[in-house]
């Protein structure tokens, strides 16, 4: 029996660029006690779907057609006042960022009490009792004490648990979770996903979960809906979806994953980007990027068809009326020519780090006496040879980013020694670094924050050449910038534009171009792909691998994404609380982890195949 039935839901938003249509005739249903996952990359309309369900569209947005039925009740026909009773009541929602979803000046108990009063009419001891039970249900220790805590006293995972408790307070029949674990560390993510699954089973709720992570889908979904450019393109049971994804887009998503592709060479990418949603679409929305397109795709929008494995697909390939459906699987497996990795790796390490420590003093009192230290990085040593990649893996707050910055003297270390190309550098002094600035560069996580929005791309790329005095001639500098743009897969004429005109993946290429401009030998990559979609991530990873092979670059790759590590790393150092707890060749660490923490970390990663299965 269907709990939530969405049919032909369409949304449009007025904007300066004209009418944006983020949702076009989306239809799906969530059954009682079922988890339905909406999967898609950023901008595909999955979050807009939930906002439309809750009738919380942004300013200028409106639902142009369709119906949303919850337990047989038409939500779009309710008055705003009635709708407020439904929100937080029958229909509850958890957001991505637990840090900003809780009011920082109210205690947990007050915020829970408010929901209980609004939706259950509870107050006084009854409310307190219920609040304690809810916190207990989401696995918070000593729930009675936690009621008096303020959000800042809780960790990220605890906050998300409190958010879940608040969502459950109204005894919802449908729980909407919008990327509930994206902002959390993998070990916490595993716990939260497990909790959600348990709660759903014990309470018989329906759950609508939004994610971009195939691993999460594998772990929790009963059924999956894949969204692309405001449309649902495939609806399938989990088993069907993972055994044989039907839509070309779904197949591409699988192929773009870096997991377990150590020796597979280049990753499959999806050429182009998602079309702007202001477009008036005529044919299939995926046409431009589809490897299996034919004449009909650009002319006629495909209808729903049944794929051989049972799922519903919006693709002409499965149209029984068309003769000989060419369900071409041939193109989506990546080019499996294993590349011979350059063996010319010298034995002397390019970079050697000995006993690096970064301690931040905690100052207290009137005279700012140093009362203690935050030991962000506490005595780590490793080495890296030219042309190799060392992955620094760990959860947030373990000191991996600080390590990266200390290597480039962007953060001053407290003690330790760095040998770079045989040259000794003092990481705790500012002097003596100018000489190696061009040899060591950095690529940052957020491609939107790492490029100055007020500078042209040319100025950004040339900045290093100018600052380091490598190329004083204007024409030559420009020529160098143009050459580098081509090298990272962009066009030379893009130099005269501003960063905001580029997509996330393109910006990350610009950031890489900026680092490459000064001919570095080592690039510290601080989570360079974690802000990108899977298909774009694949493009950037391919680029990085190509550059490494052609230029013999060494990468220090800081990440929490084990899939990326598997694809790119030669060696792995696992960091935990400022220390390296395990350090060794990638295959050894991944297959035979020695340290407990490494095992926990690897076990928590939601994966498509287990590592053990791969070994066979």
């Amino acid at each position: 029996m269907s709990l939530l039935k969405v049919s032909n839901l369409s949304v449009s938003i007025d904007s300066e660029q004209g009418e944006v249509r983020p949702l076009a005739k989306v239809s799906f249903e969530v059954r009682k006690g079922e988890t339905f996952v909406l999967l898609g990359e950023s901008g595909c309309g999955k979050s807009m779907t939930t906002l439309a369900l809750m009738r919380l569209l942004p300013d200028g947005g409106r639902i142009t057609q369709g119906s949303v039925q919850l337990d047989g009740e038409e939500l779009l026909a309710l008055t705003e006042a009635q709708m407020q009773g439904v929100r937080g009541g029958k229909l509850a929602m958890i957001f991505q960022e637990p840090g900003t979803s809780l009011n920082p000046v109210l205690t947990v108990g007050t915020q829970l009490g408010e929901v209980l009063r609004l939706h259950r009419g509870l107050s006084g001891t009854a409310a307190t009792h219920e609040a304690v039970q809810l916190l207990d249900a989401v696995g918070i220790n000593e729930p009675a004490q936690r009621l008096h805590d303020y959000p800042f006293q809780l960790s990220g995972g605890m906050k998300q648990r409190v958010m879940i408790a608040m969502a459950l307070a109204g005894q919802p029949s449908l729980l909407i979770a919008d990327e509930p674990t994206t902002a959390l560390d993998v070990t916490i993510q595993a716990q939260v996903l497990k909790l959600l699954a348990e709660l759903q089973r014990s309470r018989g709720m329906g759950m609508l979960l939004i994610t971009h992570d195939l691993g999460v889908v594998k772990q929790v979904a009963d059924r999956v809906g894949v969204m692309y450019a405001g449309e649902l393109v495939e609806i399938a049971d989990r088993a069907q979806f993972f055994s044989a994804p039907a839509h070309p887009y779904s197949r591409k998503l699988f192929a773009a994953l870096p997991e377990g592709r150590r020796d597979a060479g280049r990753l499959a990418t999806i050429p182009g980007s998602v079309p702007p949603l202001t477009t008036a679409f005529k044919g299939c929305r995926f046409t431009e990027r589809c490897p299996a397109r034919h004449a009909r795709c650009t002319e006629v929008a495909p209808a729903w068809h049944a794929a051989p494995s049972g799922q519903q697909v919006r693709c002409h390939l499965y149209d029984p009326a068309v003769t000989a459906p060419v369900a071409a699987h041939s193109d989506d497996s990546p080019a499996t020519t294993p590349e011979v990795r350059a063996p010319a790796e010298s034995d002397t390490p390019l970079l050697e780090v000995r006993e690096l420590r970064v301690h931040f003093p905690i100052r207290r009192g009137l005279l700012q006496r140093t009362a203690g230290y935050v030991k962000a990085v506490d005595g780590i040593s490793f080495s890296l040879r030219a042309g190799r990649t060392l992955a620094l893996v760990g959860e947030s707050g373990c000191g991996k980013t600080t390590t990266g910055k200390a290597l480039l003297n962007l953060t001053q270390a407290s003690s330790g020694e760095i040998l770079f190309g045989g040259q000794r550098l003092d990481p705790h002094r500012k002097e003596g670094w100018q000489a190696v600035r061009s040899d060591m560069q950095m690529v940052f996580q957020d491609p939107f924050g790492s490029l100055n929005p007020r500078m042209r791309v040319a100025d950004i790329v040339e900045e290093g050449l100018l600052a380091l005095g490598l190329e004083s001639d204007k024409g030559k500098r420009r020529a160098r910038a143009e050459a580098i743009m081509l090298q990272v897969g962009l066009r030379a004429d893009m130099l005269d534009r501003y960063p905001h005109e580029f997509s996330g993946g393109q910006r990350q290429r610009i950031a890489i171009a900026r680092a490459l401009a000064v001919n570095p030998k080592l690039i510290v990559c601080d989570e360079p792909t974690s802000a990108l979609d899977v298909s774009v991530q694949a493009q950037v990873l391919n680029l990085m691998r190509d550059l490494q092979q052609s230029l013999g670059l060494a990468y220090l790759f800081i990440t929490h994404n084990i899939g990326v590590v598997e694809y790119l790393a030669d060696d792995i150092a696992v960091m935990y609380q400022g220390k390296i707890v395990e350090y060794g060749a990638a295959q050894d660490v991944l297959r035979r982890p020695q340290h407990d923490y490494t095992r926990t970390l690897l076990a928590a990663v939601p994966r498509l195949q287990s590592l053990a299965a791969e070994q066979q």
Binding site: D59, R437, M440, S450, L451, N452, M455, L468, A511
Partner: protein, 479 residues
């Protein structure tokens, strides 16, 4: 005739040149052009802009100074030309009649007699106390009691007709521009302009201009034969004074920023960027400055400056130049005191930007601090400078009035709203009350400050990344 450029004139022209350069720069930078475009797409902002441009025009005319050549003294064979001590401006020349129409003392708006009884000698030789006729006000009428209303109505209608004609010409001019840029037929462009269906809100500008013309043109026409805002104690036309005071007000509002901007930007960014003892030192300075009551600080500085100017009287060849020096010094003093709020905002923004990845990337290239501050931090914090500038303007105009009222503002010979309000202190205590001087100051200041505030709001909405809401942006979606 000898052109004279006072210090304030020079600074004023410099400021206008700076703004023009700024506009040229903005038109070449895409993000600035877009933001300004959205300011000008706001109907209210365009209306306010019309008012501000008019006032700026008045102030500009009043800033072109010269000294009139005196007629050679009779019998003097010397060919050397002597110049009047008094300074004239182009505005004085344009409103020559209004300026020269001096009565004996107070007269009410549109009056034909003085406000008070005077002892006069009648033609028959007797003496008596009566309201004497004004020398200029309604002097062209034989029987003012009976004819004045008709004459006023006639003049007003003529004024409205002229205003209408000017407005139609303006509307036609703008529509022609719209027709050209949008490649529409002229009539379609006219209707689009008036209905507000153009990318820029020309309708706001037109309606505001219409209102201004409707009020000002009849007033200007009538100012020749009447005192439309009455006369003050020494018989000067108040309308003329109110127009002259516009320069002082605009001047204080804008020139002060010439002092605050460099100080606020440099200290704010340096404090935020370097941190440590630089930050401490700058913070101590501005905390101390902003803890002293500003009237006290300004009073002390103004008195010092006054003493200085008096001991160096030989530096100034005319009294006007001396009054002008005092005005400029006042701006400098207010500026030296009010850079703190801008510095605070800049410091906070710099603290945020300092941690941005693109600044870290610049560090990784070993870019020098000065260059990081000028290339990476200032352009990204510039919206704050602009917003502070336009928001502070009206506050400064009002501050001038307050300071003059307290008696520590501009030179008493300078015409300013503050001086007018200060004079009205005694006038309001009289019975019957003399209300027109303060009314004139009130109306003109209100229009200036209101227009400035409305424009500032639009600028803030367009430039402040946080203040931008979808609702506001949606306002002008051209169909």
């Amino acid at each position: 005739m000898k052109p004279v450029v006072l210090i304030s004139d020079a600074l004023f022209f410099l400021l206008i040149a700076c703004s023009l350069i700024g506009l040229w720069y903005a038109s070449r930078k895409e993000h600035l052009r877009r933001a300004w475009h959205s300011v000008l797409a706001d109907r209210v902002a365009m209306g306010a802009l019309a008012v501000l441009l008019l006032f700026l025009g008045i102030a500009l005319l009043d800033s072109l100074h010269f000294r009139r050549a005196l007629e050679p003294a009779a019998g003097s064979t010397n060919s050397e030309v002597h110049y009047a001590v008094e300074l004239d401006s182009v505005l004085d020349v344009l409103l020559h009649d209004v300026k020269e129409h001096k009565e004996k003392t107070y007269s009410a708006p549109f009056a034909h007699t003085l406000f008070e009884r005077q002892t006069v000698e009648r033609p028959d030789g007797t003496r008596g106390r009566e309201f004497p006729r004004l020398k200029y006000g309604a002097a062209h009428l034989k029987n003012p009691e009976t004819d004045k209303t008709a004459d006023l109505v006639q003049q007003a209608l003529r004024g409205v007709a002229v205003a209408g004609a000017v407005w139609l010409a303006l509307a036609a001019f703008i529509s022609a521009g719209v027709a050209r840029s949008q490649r529409k037929p002229f009539l379609a462009a006219v209707s689009a302009t008036l209905r507000g269906c153009t990318p820029l809100a020309w309708d706001g500008l037109l309606w505001a201009a219409g209102l201004l013309l409707l009020v000002l043109v009849p007033l200007l026409l009538m100012a020749d034969s009447y005192h439309v805002f009455g006369t003050d104690r020494t018989g000067n036309d108040v309308f003329f004074y109110a127009l002259k005071a516009m320069r002082t007000a605009l001047f204080i509002g804008t020139l002060t920023s010439l002092v605050t901007l460099p100080l606020g930007i440099a200290f704010g960014i340096a404090a935020g960027y370097f941190g440590g003892w630089v930050d401490d030192a700058i913070q101590y300075v501005y905390t101390v400055i902003s803890s002293i009551p500003y009237v006290l600080l300004i009073a002390a500085s103004v008195l010092l400056m006054q003493a200085f100017i008096e001991t160096h009287g030989a530096w100034f060849d005319t009294p006007a130049a001396r009054a002008d020096a005092r005005l400029v010094a006042l701006c400098a003093i207010i500026g030296l005191i009010s850079w703190t709020s801008l510095a605070r905002l800049m410091r906070a923004e710099t603290l945020k930007l300092r941690e941005a990845d693109f600044v870290t990337a610049a560090h990784a290239f070993g870019v020098k601090p000065l260059r990081i501050m000028s290339r990476h931090i200032l352009p990204n914090a510039f919206h704050i400078v602009l917003i502070t500038l336009v928001l502070d303007f009206s506050g400064l105009v009002l501050a001038e009035a307050v300071l003059a009222y307290v008696g520590i503002g501009v030179d008493p010979n300078t015409i300013s709203y503050g001086i007018m309000i200060n004079g009205a202190r005694a006038e309001l205590a009289r019975d019957p009350m003399v209300w027109w001087q303060i009314a004139a100051a009130f109306i003109f200041m209100l229009s200036l400050v209101l227009a400035a505030n409305l424009f500032a709001d639009a600028v803030r909405d367009a430039f402040d990344p946080r203040g931008r809401t979808a609702l506001r942006r949606r306002r002008r979606v051209v169909a």
